[in-house]
Symmetry: C2
Subunit: 469 residues, 2 copies
Amino acid sequence: MRRLSLLVLALAAHTAFAAPAPTRIPDDALRTAAVLREQALADDTGWKVVESLTTEIGPRIAGSEADARAVAWAQAKFRELGFDRVWTEPVSFPKWERRSEKAEVLGTHAQPLAITALGGSPGGTVEAEVVRFADLAALQAAPAGSLAGKIAFVDYQMIAARDGRGYGPGGAVRSRGPSEAIRKGAIGFVMRSAGTDSHRVPHTGITRYDEGLTPVPSAALSVPDANQLARLVARGPVRIRLALDCGWDGEYTSHNVIGEITGRSLPKEVVVIGGHLDSWDLGTGAVDDAAGVGITMAAGHLIGKLKRAPKRSIRVVAFANEEQGLYGGRAYADKYGDDLKLHQIAAESDFGAGRIYAFNTGSPAPEGSREATRQIAGALAPLGIEYAPTQGGPGPDIGPIAAKGGAWAWLAQDGSDYFDLHHTADDTLDKIDPQALAQNVAAYTVFAYLAAEAEGDFGSRPKEAGAGK
Amino acid sequence: MRRLSLLVLALAAHTAFAAPAPTRIPDDALRTAAVLREQALADDTGWKVVESLTTEIGPRIAGSEADARAVAWAQAKFRELGFDRVWTEPVSFPKWERRSEKAEVLGTHAQPLAITALGGSPGGTVEAEVVRFADLAALQAAPAGSLAGKIAFVDYQMIAARDGRGYGPGGAVRSRGPSEAIRKGAIGFVMRSAGTDSHRVPHTGITRYDEGLTPVPSAALSVPDANQLARLVARGPVRIRLALDCGWDGEYTSHNVIGEITGRSLPKEVVVIGGHLDSWDLGTGAVDDAAGVGITMAAGHLIGKLKRAPKRSIRVVAFANEEQGLYGGRAYADKYGDDLKLHQIAAESDFGAGRIYAFNTGSPAPEGSREATRQIAGALAPLGIEYAPTQGGPGPDIGPIAAKGGAWAWLAQDGSDYFDLHHTADDTLDKIDPQALAQNVAAYTVFAYLAAEAEGDFGSRPKEAGAGK
């Protein structure tokens, strides 16, 4: 690892046999960061970017006509915001689309149900009795074949939490429920939305069918509709009709869109920040994830306005198709993950637009950068952000490069209301608090700038080679 | 007026030339009312009725298959709750139905818009440029012919208020906007929903087209969609497509469903309470108006359980088709409004399920019953209800009989969140607070019982004959 070797040699000139000097942030950079922080809090660039993307493009499911418009929009926006370099990188994936969807209770309590197909579901119309399960474990415990000719209904209510921990079990119903139901013989699958709201806005999201299973129509009920169906099932047998017109339809090539502020002395080394450009089709993708795009574009823009660029480059990535399988993040890692000496650190904003409350970094070799991380946390503290040295992880699209050994930063957003909106028609601009968004921009600006100015790295190392070797 | 004359004669025996004795509530009735009040607060009959209607019948737009099921449900529920007499009375009206509806922005900002047809709108597909107006007055001020070939968009945001006063101007956009737009040449009409929420649930509601105008497709945008369309219009010309499949389709005969607790000494005189049985088709009609049906059925039920029935009968009416023009209330007034001596007083619960905060009564001849009204208010005071002697008016379905001179009572509900839900898909059971509902039941129970026990009347007089003569 070339860069580490140079660092060790440089240190050796001062102290024979010493460990590599710990990474640190220079004092002048900390002073500049304090100024940037206050500028960012008073700046509305982040808000304007979010407003522009959600209004002019609106919903932009991967592979749609709006996906292409969003890619063009992002390039134009990076240029408008003064980024030094703007380019795209292709990202290919299978295309899934929703055309229509409908469900209804049949018989004596006939009434419509508000549902939405899960991403990846096949189309088809099924009409059958519903069998309710309180949670995924109950479905898993059902005898083999016991759902033959039935529609499984998993009625698990996820909890709201600042750190979004309810999404673990909630999201698992969506990702694993359909396959479990098929294994028991079900011809259809419905679930209480993995969400925490109480509106007639069902939550979509990708599901996967295990190899060897024949996919069945799979959908989420809004929370009030799940309540209703549970009450009806408690009264006696309930038949429903689920009619979905949706499915996979060929391959599509979208693009990661990248804007860069060129570093002054180590321009090939990059601090990566970003969000994802795609959204689900139901809302306008405001909290998921125009917010992340706006926060990080605005942070790059503010750093780009400095008279003296930071040492390293600031690379802002608007990732393609996060929603259906981290396609943009995986393409990025494929392209850049084998040259980790150029990867200073990366962070994705993809948990809404709530205030950031905690900060940490991680890598295969974190020891050398603990003090630098603490210094950055100190610069973030006036924003109400705590240093959380034992917590966190990489954002979704950073996951693939982190898996290869890339250092990551965690800027933890308050997600208390995130799952009220996530993947629903209600994910619209009005749900974003401009002040909270500006706090996010300030945090990303400070973090990215200081990481780019650090003397030393944050521990990116190929995982195969072992940490710190 | 026979009853008044008898009263005057009776008084004349005591005091020559005196005015009729004021109406008053006997002390033993006040003691019984205090017991009823506490029983009602601890009783969940109201909640169970609302749960049953919203779950088993669900949406029940007038004239639908569910309307007939609701009529059967109401008869069965009255019987189950022990009412002495249960019957139906036919109510005929033209039938309107919604089949499908869709809207989208066309061109460079292409995206779907969440809309719902206004009740009474014709079907049809129109595609045109949108012209935005801040409010109804701005539309009215537009030059004649200026909207030729255009779609009018009235973007008025109604305010939330405890007493619902925002619905005056908000509802006026819906009732008068389409006709105004047609007069200016518009081929379609869209409005910001008359609502106070921020969800993708547009608010429907009836509209009327003035005589001589050719109706055009008319719809409401959800509040976030109105925001979105306003932002787009601010950027330049916007074309939208509005495709509605809905309209009038023949006549239908539904029924007012009536349950009565027979009075012990004046059984032909009635205190009328009720709600309306129909709902719009988008939600399950929980706050509008299963709540009113549940509150008043429960109140009648609790009075019916007394060992000694009140003097007069308690009549609970589940009115047909309130939503499309007070058809049930008008049929009721046609049948009973000409014999006002039998009409002690009436109140409809049709403003959601928020707590009652104020009480008053009114009639053509209110002077004689002021003290009795004050006595009832006193019995309601422990429920947090104020006596508001200068305020109020009859509920919607009581309007027609009040117009003939029938006395009415006003039990004012807190409607702060009513227009978050009203006429939307979000009007579902989970929005009702069972404690607030029980407070309503307690108030209606106390009011109806005391009005039925009063010595004297509340001033019902044919309006044609003048008040108090």
